[in-house]
Amino acid sequence: MKLIVKRKKNPENIFVNIFSLSVTMGIAFLIVIVLILFLSKDPAKTIRYFFIGPFLNRYYFGNMLNSAIPLIFTGLGIAIAFKASTFNLGGEGQVYSGALAATAVCLALPEANGFIGGSLAILAAIGVGAVLAGLSGLFKMKWGTDELISSFLISGAVVLIVNYFITGPMDDPANNLLTTREIAKQYRFMQIFPPSKLDISIFFAVLTAFLVFFFMFYTHWGYEMRMCGLNREFSRYGGIKVKFYLVLPMILSGSFQGLAGAVSVMGTYHMSVKGFSFGMGWNGIAVALIARNNPLAVIPAAIFFAYIEAGASAAMIHSDVTFEIAAIVESIIYFLITAQALKDFIRYRKRRTE
């Protein structure tokens, strides 16, 4: 007896995804153009800066890529959690506290060797992020607390604590701004595209995306994690320690959030500024949704986000667009694109639970 395994149409087809995403993007851009036509006195100039502003000179272009770096890390972190069907909504607090931890280590070791001290700073950031997110995973494992809620709440509290440190004990008395002192020169990443702020960590970010991809699809942890994410009952039946995979993805997810914080401090800001990382965590979720949780797709998704942001600020500087209008334009694009990605994500989850 022979059985023929027939290939049916695969709903996860990547080309279908890219096509539908492009259509949404087109609609979003159309709405933006219409808005600008109404709101700007010189719409042609505004539209020009909005769309090609990021490519006009080295400074804009480099800064755009630079702001994609933390988004790649936060996007990867969220994608890992999503792949395992765990949810980390605490990105904001994890990035922010990771940044503070890295700053604190650098400031505590002003004389140390750049590589050793820098590594310690990065490890501290990863550790803080991992612990914060890992706690939510642990609560879920022990008591079934919804990690989506607990990570969000923990993050909310952590933001306030970090604010306290930046404006209180660690505040730089030499200036009137709400910042810590600057970290020593040896800890700052090498800039590779002056005059922009782009630094070498962009290579590190791309490499990390490839590593995460390898981890997810070629290692046994990745396999077990994905299986748990797709079907916990099946995984338990197959002998996988499913409870462990409530915690591990959260720990990994938090690590990447912390890393994003460290990279922002050591590459771009060279200090912690009150509220400087706000949005990175949330945008990481949007990046992961657009990338359909594929680690490699996180790279273009993060660059796309950075591009919109850079375009909006270029239009703001060079034309009559105010900050508020730029923000509205940005949010329309985010809203449409994440709504589209979210819709597919929900449909996908629903199909799974049926």
Binding site: M1, K2, L3, I4, V5, K6, R7, K8, N10, E12, Y218, T219, H220, W221, Y223, E224, R226, M227, L230, N231, E233, F234, S235, R236, Y237, G238, G239, I240, K241, R351, R352
Partner: protein, 501 residues
């Protein structure tokens, strides 16, 4: 109901074939049949949850079309599902009025009126619940009363009860039957789905017997005895052309000692002091009708559920209470009844599904050796005559093919014990025979097989020893030889006989 037919193309099951069901006003009508006989589908059609392919429904002389439970409610038809549909945090009254709440000023929920109305329904029909208690605080029997009250509040005259006694204790059953009789006196009509024949005798006026999607008999309850019903339900033996070599069983591989399983807030244990031994090279068949503990037995012997009492031994080692992952390390094979959710991960590829139980074998420093996986998967494809692409999601395969993949995977372990649960449920004949051949091959190779199945033909054809379960208890143990008949086992399955009372 006249000439009702229903075919499920997804699993290729003809659930109902030209079924006629006549229920007279003010009678208690029982529908009996084995699992998969089509009772539930028929009732779902009557209640608007499924649409028939053919046939019509006539109510009080008028043809009606029922598209949804709302339509059914409007026509005075109510259904109490086997699994209650209640909101635990709400009170009895809130649950009962949900969806058709009395309003205050056309806008606000009128709590007082709903409590009053529900209380009057409860009193009118002599139930024993407080309309203001929280459902979560009730016993299972009381929850069922809430479900019935819910239907009565919706002015149902015809009530469908789907296996109403399956979760109840003896006292709760008596109480339920009292309620039913009282309701009958007040003019209500009942359809009761069940496979407990003593209950049929006790409560019903007439009984319709279904088998494999068809009605095989309609009887006045007083003119028929339980043995005859049991015989009608199981039908004649279907003989397979299976060649069974004589095999002498070896050492005990799996042993259950006094195993019980009890859930919180549920009086009746799901498994009640089960003793069971499976030896190398023999097939032990556990027979029973669904809802009598077969599924629970499957869950505890595979470590997915913890037993409340008793011990489980595998090759002499006490494995009671070990986590599921440790069970797998003991290398036992397990082909589950729920093959679409437990047995496979529909969204991942055939390849990934095939390695779940032994993916550790393909690792080199934590990384998968893809070549080794390909060799393994291709070998299994060859030996189980499966052809095609291993990189498509397994959910795109047919049910028979999915079962083949599961079978291939589980038999590929070096297990000394393989547990099968409902291995041919929903499969076409050819795939079913393929499964049987493989089970017999295992037996020949000296492997212990535990076969849990509600398909009595399957058990009679394969098993060396047969254990029958009824209401979580073992009611009979037999050696499968010429001295036993299908009708006899059927009587044990339906609770007509019990050797261990």
């Amino acid at each position: 109901m006249e000439g009702i037919s229903k075919y499920f193309p997804e699993n290729r099951v003809q659930a109902n074939r030209n079924v006629n069901l006549v229920v007279k006003k003010n009678e208690i009508h029982a529908i009996v049949g084995e699992n998969g006989a089509g009772k539930s589908t028929l009732m779902k059609i009557l209640y608007g949850l499924e649409r028939p392919d053919k046939g019509r429904i006539v109510l009080n002389g008028k043809q009606v079309s029922i598209h949804s439970p709302m339509d059914a409610n409007r026509l005075g038809i109510g259904m109490v599902h086997q699994h209650f549909r209640l909101i635990r945090e709400f009170t009895v009254a809130e649950n009962v009025v949900l969806g058709i709440e009395p309003k205050k000023n056309g806008l606000f929920f009128n709590r007082d009126k709903s409590v009053r109305d529900v209380r009057s329904v409860i009193e009118k029909y002599g139930f024993n619940i407080n309309s203001e208690s929280r459902v979560a605080d009730l016993t299972v029997g009381q929850m069922q009363q809430v479900e019935i009250v819910k239907m009565l509040y919706r002015k149902a005259d015809l009530l469908i009860l789907d296996e109403p006694t399956s979760v109840l204790t003896e006292q709760e059953i008596n109480r339920l039957f009292d309620n039913i009789r009282e309701l009958k006196n007040q003019g209500k009509t009942f359809i009761i789905i069940t496979h407990k024949l003593d209950e049929v005798k006790e409560i019903s006026d007439r009984v319709t017997v279904m088998r494999r999607g068809e009605v095989v008999a309609v009887k006045e309850t007083e003119n028929v005895d339980q043995k005859e019903l049991a015989k009608l339900m199981v039908g004649k033996s279907v003989l397979f052309k299976l060649k069974k070599d004589p095999v002498s069983p070896g050492a005990v591989v799996l042993e259950l000692k006094n195993v019980s399983l009890k859930l919180k807030r549920q009086e009746r244990p799901l498994l009640d002091r089960i003793d069971l031994k499976v030896r190398a090279g023999e097939i032990v068949g556990v027979a029973g009708v669904g809802g009598n503990g077969l599924g629970e037995l499957e869950d505890v012997v595979t470590g997915l559920f913890k037993v409340s009492e008793g011990e489980i031994f595998y090759k002499g080692e006490n494995i009671t209470g070990l986590p599921a992952s440790k069970f797998r390390e003991k290398e036992l094979g397990y082909v589950p009844a729920d093959r679409l959710n437990r047995g496979s991960c529909l969204d991942s590829t055939v390849r990934e599904n095939m390695i779940i139980t032994r993916h550790h074998d393909f690792l080199k420093a934590g990384v998968f050796n893809q070549k080794k996986i390909s060799v393994f998967v291709n070998n299994l494809f060859k030996s189980y005559s499966i052809t095609g692409d291993t990189s498509v999601p397994i959910g795109t395969l047919s049910g028979g093919n999915i079962q083949k993949v599961i079978l291939a995977r589980e038999l590929a372990t070096n297990a000394e014990l393989i547990i099968f649960s409902e291995p041919t449920w929903g499969l076409d004949v050819a795939s079913g025979e393929f499964v049987y051949e493989n089970i017999l091959k295992l037996r020949k190779n000296g492997i212990a097989v535990l076969l849990i199945s509600s398909n009595l033909d399957e058990i009679m054809n394969l098993a060396d020893r047969i254990v029958v379960m009824y209401r979580g208890r073992i009611t009979g143990r037999f050696t499968n030889d010429k001295s036993i008949s299908k009708a006899l086992i059927g009587e044990y399955m339906m609770g007509v006989r019990n050797d261990f009372n």
